[in-house]
């Protein structure tokens, strides 16, 4: 098949196994430029179905940049150019024919800082289904909102005040509201960019717990600056350094027995 040829035709310096047995996303030789400044170069990595994969590395190494390639959020940044190929279910999402609207419904995103809309809790969750026309009556919408909030572990805390503003919740609740908003449009993949960096340890623990449940239904790519978090939540871990994917492998392996010297230095705290 032509697609498969495409997927095989690449070069990589990455240590470890970039492949996945049951890949959902396949990225090949992805490079990103911000106004001619190269942010990441030739990153090739498979994301498995219903797996949690962590992207770790020192700040500025290009983790967020790589993450934003999967739902083409980089398109919204002026002067940002993406090279290479990313296949989502065998379809190159950087193909000219691809519309970002359905893509972003399929690949949800949760941001570093909780960013609920300045609207009610209900409207925050209902916004996605509404603009995509997923349902056409109030009852089905109520149902989506309830299920999304339940799956995000927020329902019990907010079911009595769905009309109150989403921005009035605590940080951790806001972040779970953002997760509910993302899963309300039934995505297959959820991207998370340091979702806990603005949260206290208790709220962080809640989100990490939630991630394990979500992994039953979604592929999750999570950027984190906390190695402990990566170790706790993910099956696989990818280590980035200065815009390159240095090493990738099973989380246990990366944290106990890294192969590359740069990974070793980072894990042991010599780069940070």
């Amino acid at each position: 098949m032509e697609m498969n040829e495409d997927k095989k035709d690449f070069k990589t310096n990455t240590v470890g196994d970039i492949f996945s047995d049951n890949p959902k996303i396949v990225s090949r030789n992805v490079s990103v430029y911000y106004n001619d400044k190269k942010a990441i170069s030739d990153v090739s990595l498979d994301i498995g179905s219903k797996e949690i994969i962590s992207l770790i590395g020192p700040s500025g190494c290009g983790k967020s940049t790589f993450l934003r390639c999967f739902n083409r959020m980089n398109d919204t940044i002026d002067g940002c150019k993406v090279e290479g190929k990313i296949f989502l279910d065998n379809e190159n999402i950087y193909d000219e024919m691809i519309d970002v609207v359905p893509l972003r419904a399929k690949v949800g995103m949760v941001f570093q800082k909780p960013n609920p809309f300045p609207k009610s809790i209900y409207d925050n969750v209902a916004y996605g289904p509404r603009i995509h026309g997923l349902v056409d009556n109030k009852k089905d919408m109520d149902n989506i909102v309830e299920m999304s909030l339940k799956n995000a572990g927020l329902w019990d805390e907010v079911k009595d005040r769905l009309d109150s503003p989403g921005t009035g919740l605590s940080g951790g609740q806001q972040q779970r509201l953002c997760i509910a908003r993302a899963i309300a449009v039934s995505p297959e993949i959820i991207l998370m960019d340091e979702p806990c960096s603005a949260l206290d340890p208790i709220a962080t623990a809640k989100i990490e717990e939630l991630l394990q449940t979500l992994a039953n239904d979604y592929s999750i790519v999570i950027v984190t600056h906390s190695m402990q978090q990566a170790a706790r939540v993910s099956q696989r871990t990818a280590y980035f350094h200065l815009g390159e994917l240095v090493e990738v492998g099973y989380t246990k392996h990366i944290f106990t027995n890294p192969t590359d010297i740069k990974t070793q230095n980072y894990i042991t705290g010599r780069i940070g």
Binding site: M73, G108, M109, V110, N115, F117
Partner: protein, 431 residues
């Protein structure tokens, strides 16, 4: 020990003395700040005092009450109660007869002097009363008439009794008649019927700002409906859709420059294009509004862009993140959050437009217009131009009326700002 470091005691002393110095400097700065605020406030108080001191009396004027015999034949010569017939009637004669009954002038000379007392507008007043209520025809009823502006000035004390008769605008006989009227309790000082509801006139006692006020409102309405949608649309395009290239850059620089162009230039532009090229009539609110719209556009665009770019990018990310298109992100999230800021900018622009004179002079809105405009296509003048014209007239009463009109302009401005604040508070989401 490191030699270059001071010992702690010395350092403490130096820090202490410098603290005193710094505190003194702080105090001095505070004092300077307060003094400038005080000076600015005093100017403001002075300004308001001088405007109100002259302006408040401008809202009042002297009237004479006379029992007028509303003779049907003489008031309505054609007998059909038509405008034409009533305005040809001899109201003036009847008013003078009523006046003569009180002051009893002897001979033609005295009668001629007495004629000066009542405003020339008396017959129009009677005609209007009859149009309102024809049943008063044939009766004798008391009617109040504005006194002529010279009499008004005399009653206010601006024209002094002890100036020699030859230097006075009114002679001894007239003063004598006025004294009789005062003694007979016929003279009253009350809120002016004309200042708010009259239109432009060369007779100061009947001149009012209604025409100019309506002209201003019509002009501003045109200005708003042109500049707000255009300005917001331009801002949205520039912030959200315009490609970042040389052409966009040139457009942006030009918009910023336009905001600083003297307003009279926009008047010249309007004169050349709307009147010169398109041959539209002069002096009409439509053109005035168009010129002011061009003038306000840069302000609205700049403030709208600022409001749009002040919307947190995280909100846009959130919308894009769930798959909203660019237009949806703008319409559902960015513009609702930016609207209060846009409105504030618009009202500031409109307030400036309200006070603008120069560009309107260029397109002929300075013409002397007696009729009150009914549409944006009828000649009109506007408040600031009216003020400008009144300030130029010599009659004493116009000095007061100029300040009165200024007060009305200020009230109008405050009203507009109040609406802006109200709208902003109402539209601003507090979460």
């Amino acid at each position: 020990m490191n030699k270059s470091l001071m010992n702690a005691k010395d350092a403490e002393l130096i820090v202490k003395s410098s603290v005193l110095k710094r505190r003194r400097k702080d105090k001095r700065l505070k004092f300077y700040g307060r003094s400038t605020i005080f000076i600015a406030l005093s100017f403001l108080v002075f300004l308001f005092y001088s405007i109100f001191e002259k302006g408040i009396p401008g809202f009042f004027q002297y009237y004479v009450t006379l029992d007028v015999n509303l003779d049907q034949k003489r008031l309505d010569p054609k007998g059909d109660l038509s405008h034409e017939s009533l305005y040809n009637g001899d109201g003036r004669g009847l008013v003078l007869e009523a006046l003569y009954k009180v002051i009893k002038p002897k001979g033609r000379k005295e009668k001629k002097s007495a004629k000066k007392i009542i405003s020339s507008n008396a017959d129009v007043r009677i005609a209007k009363m009859i149009l309102n209520d024809p049943s008063i025809l044939g009766k004798t009823i008391p009617i109040t008439f504005a006194v002529d502006d010279d009499i008004d000035s005399f009653l206010r004390g601006y024209i002094k009794r002890d100036t020699p008769e030859s230097d006075r605008r009114i002679n001894d006989k007239v003063i004598n008649f006025v004294d009789i009227l005062v003694k007979e309790n016929k003279v009253i000082y009350k809120f002016s019927d004309y200042i708010l509801t009259g239109s432009a006139s060369r007779s100061p006692e009947i001149a009012g700002i209604k025409g100019a006020l309506i002209g201003s409102i019509l002009t501003l309405v045109v200005c708003f409906f042109l500049s707000f949608p255009l300005g917001v649309a331009t801002a949205v395009y520039l912030e959200g859709f315009a490609p970042k290239n040389k052409i966009t850059e040139i457009i942006e620089i030009n918009i910023n420059n336009l905001a600083a162009v003297p307003s009279v230039v926009f008047g010249i532009l309007g004169l050349a294009i709307f009147i010169g090229v398109f041959g539209m009539p002069r002096s009409i609110p439509l053109i005035g509004g168009m010129v002011l719209a061009i003038m306000t556009l840069p302000t609205i665009i700049i403030s709208s862009r600022a409001a749009i770019s002040a919307v947190p990018p995280s909100i846009k990310d959130a919308a894009y993140g769930v798959g909203a298109s660019k237009l949806q992100t703008l319409m559902h999230h960015v513009i609702p959050l930016a609207i209060p800021g846009m409105l504030t900018g618009t009202i500031i622009g409109m307030a400036r437009a309200l006070g603008e004179t120069a560009p309107l002079l260029m397109i002929g809105m300075v013409a002397f217009i007696v009729d009150i405009p009914n549409s944006i296509q009828e000649p009109a003048t506007v408040l600031p131009v009216q003020i400008f014209m009144w300030a130029d007239f010599a009659e004493r009463m116009f000095i007061n009326k100029t300040s009165s009109a200024t007060i009305i302009l200020l009230v109008f401005l405050i009203l507009m700002n109040a609406i802006a604040v109200f709208l902003r508070n109402k539209l601003e989401r507090r979460w």
